[in-house]
Amino acid sequence: MAADTVLAIKGLALDARIRRTTAQPVADAHIEVRAGEIVGLVGESGSGKTLTALSALRLLPDNIEIAAGRIEVGGQDVRALDEAGLAALRGSVVGMVFQDPIGSLNPSMTIGRQVAEVVRIHQQTDRAAADARAIEALGLVGFPQARERFDAYPHQLSGGLRQRVMIAMAIANEPRLVIADEPTTALDVTVQAQILELLQSLVAELGIGVLLITHDLGVIANAADRVTVMYGGRTVEQCSTLEAFGDMRHPYTEALVASAPTLEGSEELVLRGIPGTPPDPMRPEPGCPFAPRCARALPDCVTAPPVFTAIGEGRALACINPVPAAVRV
């Protein structure tokens, strides 16, 4: 593993106890994020992407446990850490940005104090120093007039500003990794563009690695350097963003990209969807989870799930009948 890997998840499996049965919302997940890059984690309902990302900090609900796999954050084996060790990671080595800032910010605390609180929990500083760092972090994320608006409450801010506060909290302690779960889904498109630009400039300036979880292919295309695609609890493909859209190997990646219309429009006026629906984690099928909807499915596809294998520099795939390589003329 490269020295600058900030997050490595290999072969992760999660078991969930639901009523009296056990389900596997994640069966075989693989994620790698290096310093200075944004990795887009894309998948639909039931793909397991959010649970996989939460596993990085063991922020799982009580009924879900890690059944298999290796999780390394900043070189540390996360599965071997005790509560104190995990607490030291959360909010310092790893920052998290959630989808809905109004649900994640404390409504009765000023935004300045909330950012300062994150600093005080992890650093041995006094109040003045923590406040100063909070103002600095708010400035880094483009929050206008941070000193003057230190005492503002979340409800007084717009959606975009609230999200900037969340990002300030995530980077206040100079993390190596930021996990952003659908950070722009609740925002207007012009604000979304600003926030994605912000994440990209923070990566360039601070050298952090970002795991950007989203279902939006447009966000992936515009903000991610590399892509990890998940389906039915498994990582099915890992490659660069250009490869994911123009030279993908997994049939699901191909179908997903084909179903998302682009601004340029196309000659075909009929959109290509994928027939059927994503699998239900409560009713797993043997074999590859995508087989029932896959145009390239072979008889072997339903007997055993494909093994996730490296297929080149920075590329990996779980498929026994991949899409052929794009022909270059």
Binding site: T190, Q192, G218, A221, L263
Partner: protein
């Protein structure tokens, strides 16, 4: 705004621009203070209460959240048939047959008729809401963000369904969406709204490829196109949409416009003709 028979028009804009309110006014869920809604040339204000109640079936709304739009304690068949029984269309047997036909039309298996909404997937629920909207044979369907809550791979199915229904029934469609790529694929014309005003209107491809209003240009520039080869973007506007309360005099977009000039802050530009089939509300359009 005008929608002709069988036309497919899109209404785009960000939160607070008024697009959902406009849709709700069209189906009388809210009333307008000034201005009018004319259906087939007849003003709503000229109709009696009785005429209004029975005659407002030409426009049907598919609201934003399909799951919230279905009564969780009514079966699919009862939900779809409800408009028919409220308007007393046909006998009970005829209504039941009609419901089954509607299920076929939206691509749902007839066996789902006696299920409840929670037993269906998001895409299936959306089909049910569409079937219910078609029950009274409307002339115009208003679909408010019909696919935003659905998985990407399911969206195309629903959009294709709307397209098929439109063609089969010569139905007009008003699509409210923030997704310009979807709009590009489905709608012939586009109206762009900002803070309660339509600021640009015209053929979809022309407006998206060569926006005349700076706000349209900003929307297009900011749109996350699922195509990594078009990543370099024109400058996005600063700030966010201001509150519609206490707007300053002049153009509503003046505060964020990259091309703002003196006269923009003095008076509010009205939507006026601009070339072939285009209208813009701007003193200094970009094209």
């Amino acid at each position: 705004m005008t929608i002709g028979e069988g036309e497919s028009v899109a209404l785009v804009g960000e939160s607070g621009c008024g697009k959902t309110t406009l849709a709700r006014i069209a189906v009388r869920l809210e009333s307008a203070e000034t201005g009018d809604v004319l259906v087939d040339g007849i003003s709503r204000r000229d109709l009696s209460r009785g005429q209004l109640r029975l005659g407002t079936t030409e426009i049907q709304l598919i609201p934003q959240d399909a799951s919230a739009a279905l009564d969780p304690r009514m079966t699919i068949a009862v939900s779809i048939g409800e408009p028919l029984s409220i308007h007393r269309r046909g006998s009970k047997a005829e209504r039941e047959a009609r419901v089954l036909d509607l299920l076929d039309e939206v691509g749902l298996d007839r066996s789902l008729a006696d299920r409840f909404p929670h037993q269906l997937s998001g895409g299936q629920r959306q089909r049910v809401v569409i079937a219910r909207a078609l029950a009274l044979e409307p002339k115009l369907l208003i679909a408010d963000e019909p696919v935003s809550a659905l998985d990407v791979s399911v969206r195309a199915q629903i959009l294709n369904l709307l397209r098929e229904i439109r063609e089969r029934r010569s139905l007009a469609l008003l699509l409210i969406s923030h997704d310009l790529a979807v709009v590009r694929t489905i709608s012939e014309r586009i109206d762009v709204m900002y803070l309660g005003r339509i600021v640009e209107s015209g053929p979809t491809a022309a407006v998206i490829d060569q926006p005349a209003h700076p706000y349209t240009a900003a929307l297009v520039a900011a749109f996350p196109d699922p195509d990594p080869t078009t990543r370099e973007r024109r400058a996005a506007p600063e700030g966010e949409v201001p509150s519609p309360v206490d707007l300053p005099v002049g153009c509503a977009f003046a505060g964020r416009c990259l091309h703002v000039q003196e006269d923009c802050r003095a008076t509010d530009p009205h939507l006026s003709d601009h070339g072939v089939a285009r209208r813009v509300a701007c003193f200094h359009p970009l094209v």
